[in-house]
Symmetry: C2
Subunit: 232 residues, 2 copies
DNA sequence: TTATTATTGTCATGAAATGAGACAATAATG
DNA sequence: CATTATTGTCTCATTTCATGACAATAATAA
């Protein structure tokens, strides 16, 4: 990770959404020997496309390829520049903040992306500066480093705006799912309760879903159908 | 414009929309002694907020303060890097592309914004590298430099998505306007014809407009009311 | 003064989408 | 076979929207 390999002053951060236990969650890193939680992020190589850099970083962190990824905002306030925070992290990891890693103390403008992944397919991998990589529900986030709380808030806003225009449910659920599970994804993202019959009618009318066999859960009531999304 | 004043590798470009003659138009620069048309853009000072930098550049170009401004995408493909294009422009202006301006040949990741302005209040000002600064209708654009055509296309897409959520008409029209003028703004942005009665009903029901006196144009028909937007 | 013309503001009508609840079907259990 | 919880679908009222009809009106022509 020599400074000459990367474009200086530019980073990316990714808000990685997953869905589990009826809650919308994101992946956060915790740095060694500090109490700072942060979004997974990284830098862009000199001859690399910005979007490719983000995809590369995500694949390292999740092990998944072909992740659903969307850029949503670039954060460039001068106030983001807090070199002492990076210094703390570097030194807590035993790196010399005056040497090879000096460039990481510079001012960075960061391009933010959100990703949607299937929670069950992922084993989160921490990076070389962090030891934890854990899921946190978006309605119970701990304090985050720098302006990362603003970045998460904007990511959720964007997700809400996009919920009916992009196939968000598809990327947060397994291949096959019940109508109730899909409804819970919508409810977790929008933060409201939806009416079951109206939701079901709207989804079926949208022609996005294919109905499959029933799912017998072993519980004492009618078994729901499984669905998948028509377009991949 | 010394390299040390600005963050390297980061630029912004602005798509400045105006409305005139029932057409949606944008401002383009033409560089001295070249045939390259480009979006107005600039760089971010070392201790300046990104958003402030864009606002500063826009004020220089239009003379307006408090411009409606929205960031919509950051373009970071490596293919954007075409140093010979910048070299041509610099040398056509008599600058030494190997000296003080050398940094402008570097790779840049550009943050794109769109602005909405009242066409009649603006006298476009070219910058130090360009001699023309002219309005072009978005449906008849000439070839643009680098990936600027992509940037414009994405700006228009974003404008369409935002048309009902943000007060776009307000910023493209003078203080008071007729319902027909507002409809023409919508039609120019969406690229479709709208039904007069439906548009009028929807706008009145939205509660965004205040009705003022009638506008007597001298033509042989009923005079329309003037409207303004309720919130500023 | 009165008829003409183009445009505007509003209403009437029917179609489509949505909200809210009713109800039968059904998978397991007692 | 009755009970229970949940699901799939239907009904009905309400709201929204598309479309066309029509009267009001500002200037001009007769």
């Amino acid at each position: 990770m020599a400074s000459t390999d990367y474009i200086p002053h530019i980073s990316y951060d990714s808000v990685i959404f997953g869905f589990s236990g009826d809650k919308l969650k994101i992946l956060l890193l915790e740095y060694h020997n500090t109490e700072l939680l942060a979004l997974p992020g990284g830098f862009v190589k000199n001859t690399e496309d910005l979007n490719d850099a983000v995809r590369r970083g995500l694949e390292e962190r999740t092990g998944l390829k072909n992740i659903y990824l969307e850029q949503f905002y670039t954060f460039g306030n001068y106030q983001r520049h807090q070199p002492q925070v990076l210094k703390t992290i570097l030194e807590a990891n035993g790196f010399d903040s005056g040497g090879e890693y000096r460039w990481m103390l510079d001012r960075f403008i960061t391009v933010a992306y959100y990703a949607l992944i299937n929670y069950n397919e992922v084993v989160p991998q921490p990076d070389e500066l962090s030891d934890f990589c854990k899921w946190y529900p978006v309605d119970q986030l701990p304090p985050l480093m720098l302006d990362h709380a603003d970045i998460v808030a904007k990511a959720i806003d964007t997700l809400r705006e996009n919920i009916d225009r992009k196939l968000i449910g598809m990327n947060l659920l397994p291949e096959k799912f019940t109508m109730k599970e899909l409804q819970h994804v919508y409810e977790a993202i929008l933060g409201v309760n939806l009416r079951r019959t109206t939701f079901q009618r709207k989804m079926l009318a949208s022609d996005l879903l294919i109905r499959h066999e029933k799912k017998y859960s072993g519980e004492a009531h009618k078994a729901p159908f499984l669905y998948s999304f028509r377009i991949k």
